[in-house]
Subunit: 391 residues, 2 copies
C-alpha cells in the first residue's frame, strides 16, 4: 500500500425530503448570498427547482441565478458565471443538477478567487489555492462530483475536455434525494450507473499490490451497481434501488475506493476525447471505450483482471489458465453493458472512424504515453479506437 | 434505506513517516497551544513519543503533557485533563495512542467547553454543543476513534462504561502510521482486529431492508480482517497487512458502513459491563459475548445471518434450510476467533458467573430492553452471559 492523504469533509444529507434542508445548510456553512447554478429545463419540469427555491426562501437567503449548463460543460458559461458572481458579490455557489452542473459550479468557485484565466487550472498552469464554498443538490447518480475534488470542463476554443483537482473544490454539503433520479430516462440512468462502475475500475486496475481493503471496497460498489441497475431499469420508481445507486455513486468517487494505490485513468481520457468532440454522454462513451481498453491490455497484464472476474462477476478461477478466467470477466461485463442498453460501437454514439487520428492527436497533445496499468502510446490508443470503430 | 446524514470531515495522513506532519497539521487546523495526551509507557519504548515531540518542536508548537490513560479510560483523568487544559489555555488536544487515549481526549475536549460535569454527556443529560479541536496519532488499529464521533468513558464512581456521540468530537486530523502497530503483542493485535470486525457486525445485523451498498461495504471490511489478521499474527512486521487492518479500522467506525440503516449495539453494551467490571480488553470481551449473542438470537431472527454466512464466510446457501447455512457462518466465525487467539469463556477474561445478576442490573439500570435486531430483556441477557460462564 502506498502512503496517502484522504480528506472528504462534505456533509451529506441523504433521503426523501432532504432538499428542504438546503437553506439551513448554506447558512451553516457560511453562505449569505448565493449563485444558484443549474442546467436546462429538467429541474423545472420535475419540481426540483421549486423545492430548492422554497428552501432558500424559507431560510431567507438571497440568490441570483445562472442556468444553461449543458452536458460536458463549457468554458463559456463558466466565464459568465465568474463575472456574475463577482458583480453580485455572492459568497456561496449552489449547484442543482448532475455532474456537469457541479463541475461548472466548481470552475466558477475557483475562478472567482483567481486573477488569471480559470482554464489555467485545467491546463495545469496553476493550482487552485482558494475557491468560493459550494453546495450541491444532486439530480443524477453518475459523476460523483457531489463528493469529489474533481471538475471537468470542455475548453470551447480547442474542444479539449480537461480536469482540475483540489480539495478546495470539495462541496461543503451535498443534498442527495434519490427520488429526484426516478424521472431520468432509462438511457441516462444506465449511463450514470456505467460511469459509477467505471470510476471504480480506474482504481481497481492498479499496479499497487497489497491493497486488500480498497480492493474489497471497489468490489462492493461494482456488485451494488450490477445488482441494482437492471432492477431500476425494470422498475424506475424503485426508491431503494435508486438510493443504493446514488450513494454508490458518491462512494465510487470521493476516493475512499482509491487511496493508497496507483490509479489508471487512461480509458477515461480516451473517452474524454469522444465526449468533447461528439458531445456523447460520458457514461455511454465509457461503455464503448472501457471494454475495448480491457480487451487490448488483458493479455499484456492479466493480473487484476483475474480478481475482477472471480470477485466481481463470480467466474470460477481456472488457476492453470488465468487468462481464460480474465476473459470470462470482461465478457460478462460486456454482456451487462448490453443488458442495460449501453452502446458498444462508434456508430451508436455518433463517432467516426476517420476522426481517429484527430482524437489521438488531441489526446497526445502534451504527453508521450497514457495510463499506468499498461502504458499506452499513440499506436496503442489508435488500435483501441479502431477496435470499436465500425467499418 | 432510511434517510441519513453522513459527515466525516477528518483529514487522514496515512503511511510510513506520516507522524512528521503532525505539527503542520495542528497549525493548519488552528492549534497554537497543545495538550499532548497519552497512555502508559509504550509510546516512549517504541519511539512514537520522540517522533511526535520532534514534529511539534519543528513546527514550534508549545505543548503541555498529560499521560496515564489506561485501557477503558477513566473519568478521573478526564477531570484532571479539563482542569489542566483550562489552566494552561490550550486550544488543541493531540491524542497519541489507541482508542482509550483518543476517547479520553474527546471527553476533555468537550469538558473544557462545558460549565457542568462532563459526565452529563455520557449520562445523556446534556448534548455536546462545542469542543476543543482534537488531532490524533494512532498506535493501535481497533476502536476506530480516530475517525469516529464516539467516545466511551468509565465513570469511576459507579464503574459504569458509557458512550457519548457528537460530530464535534470527530478529530480534525488523524495520523495513521501502520509501522507503529508492529510492536503490539499478538493478543492486542487480535483483540483490535476483533473489535474492528465487530464494529461492522453492529451495522450488518440490522432490520433495515434494501441497504445493498452498505451491506457490501460491511462485507469488504470483514473479509479484509479475515484475510489479514492471521497473516499479521504469523508475520508481525508485515507492513501491508498492518496497513490494510489499520485503514479497515477507520472505515469500520466512521459510519460509512452504517448509514441508512438501524444499528444494533446490544452485544457491545453487554460487553461494556464486562470491561467496566473486570478491565477486560474490549475486543477480547467482544470475542466472548458476540458469538454468544449470535447463537442466542439466530433462531429467533435468522435473516441477516444467512448473508453473513454466504457472503462473508463463503458458506454455500442451503435454501430449504437457511438456518443451517446461518449456523455454519457463526461456527466459522467462532473458529476464526479461536484461530487468532481470542477467548470464548468467562474464565479466560477473569469474569465470574456469580456476578451475572450484578452485570444485568447495571445494563438495565435505565432501560427495559436492549437492542433492535432482536429486542433483549433481562432474562435474555442473563442467558447470554450464562451461556459463556464456566460452571
Amino acid at each position: 500500500m502506498n502512503n496517502f492523504s484522504f480528506y472528504s469533509p462534505t456533509f451529506f444529507e441523504f433521503g426523501q425530503g432532504a432538499e428542504a434542508k438546503t437553506g439551513e445548510l448554506i447558512r451553516q456553512f457560511g453562505g449569505t448570498k448565493v449563485l444558484l447554478h443549474y442546467g436546462g429545463g429538467s429541474i423545472r419540469k420535475n419540481g426540483v427547482y421549486g423545492k430548492v427555491i422554497a428552501a432558500l426562501t424559507t431560510a431567507d437567503i438571497p440568490f441570483t441565478e445562472l442556468g444553461g449548463v449543458v452536458p460536458n460543460p463549457r468554458s463559456g458559461l463558466v466565464y459568465e458565471g465568474i463575472e456574475l458572481a463577482k458583480k453580485e458579490g455572492v459568497d456561496f455557489i449552489l449547484a442543482v443538477g448532475g455532474g456537469s452542473v457541479i463541475d461548472s459550479a466548481k470552475a466558477i468557485a475557483a475562478g472567482v478567487k483567481y486573477d488569471g484565466d480559470f482554464l489555467d487550472f485545467y491546463r495545469k498552469k496553476a493550482s487552485i489555492e482558494d475557491a468560493l464554498p459550494i453546495g450541491t443538490v444532486l439530480t443524477i447518480a453518475a459523476a460523483g462530483s457531489e463528493g469529489s475534488a474533481n471538475s471537468v470542463i470542455t475548453d470551447e476554443e480547442t474542444q479539449i475536455k480537461k480536469g482540475a483537482y483540489s480539495n478546495k473544490l470539495r462541496p461543503r454539503f451535498s443534498v442527495l434525494n434519490p427520488e429526484f433520479t426516478c424521472t431520468l430516462p432509462a438511457y441516462q440512468t444506465a449511463a450514470g450507473a456505467t460511469d459509477i462502475f467505471i470510476h471504480v475500475c480506474k482504481r481497481y486496475f492498479s499496479n499497487t499490490p497489497e491493497v486488500a481493503i480498497t480492493d474489497r471496497l471497489c468490489e462492493a460498489v461494482m456488485k451494488t451497481i450490477i445488482y441494482e441497475t437492471p432492477r431500476v431499469l425494470r422498475d424506475p420508481n424503485n426508491y431503494d434501488a435508486r438510493a443504493n445507486i446514488m450513494w454508490a455513486g458518491m462512494i465510487a468517487h470521493n476516493d475512499i475506493c482509491g487511496v493508497g494505490r496507483e490509479q489508471d485513468w487512461a480509458s477515461h481520457h480516451i473517452e474524454h476525447e469522444l465526449s468533447a468532440m461528439y458531445d456523447v454522454t460520458h457514461g455511454a462513451g465509457l461503455a464503448v471505450i472501457v471494454p475495448a481498453w480491457m480487451k487490448y491490455v488483458v493479455e499484456k497484464h492479466p493480473e487484476r483482471f483475474v480478481p475482477f472476474a472471480t470477485e466481481v462477476w463470480g467466474v470460477p478461477l481456472d488457476m492453470p489458465n488465468p487468462i481464460e478466467t480474465a476473459l470470462r470477466g470482461i465478457e460478462r461485463f460486456e454482456a451487462f453493458l448490453k443488458q442495460i442498453g449501453m452502446p458498444s460501437r462508434f456508430s451508436e454514439i455518433g463517432a467516426k472512424k476517420e476522426d481517429i487520428p484527430k482524437l489521438v492527436d488531441k489526446l497526445f497533445a502534451n504527453k508521450e504515453t497514457e495510463g499506468f496499468y499498461v502504458k499506452l502510446n499513440r499506436d496503442d490508443v489508435t488500435k483501441i479506437y479502431e477496435s470499436v470503430a465500425d467499418v
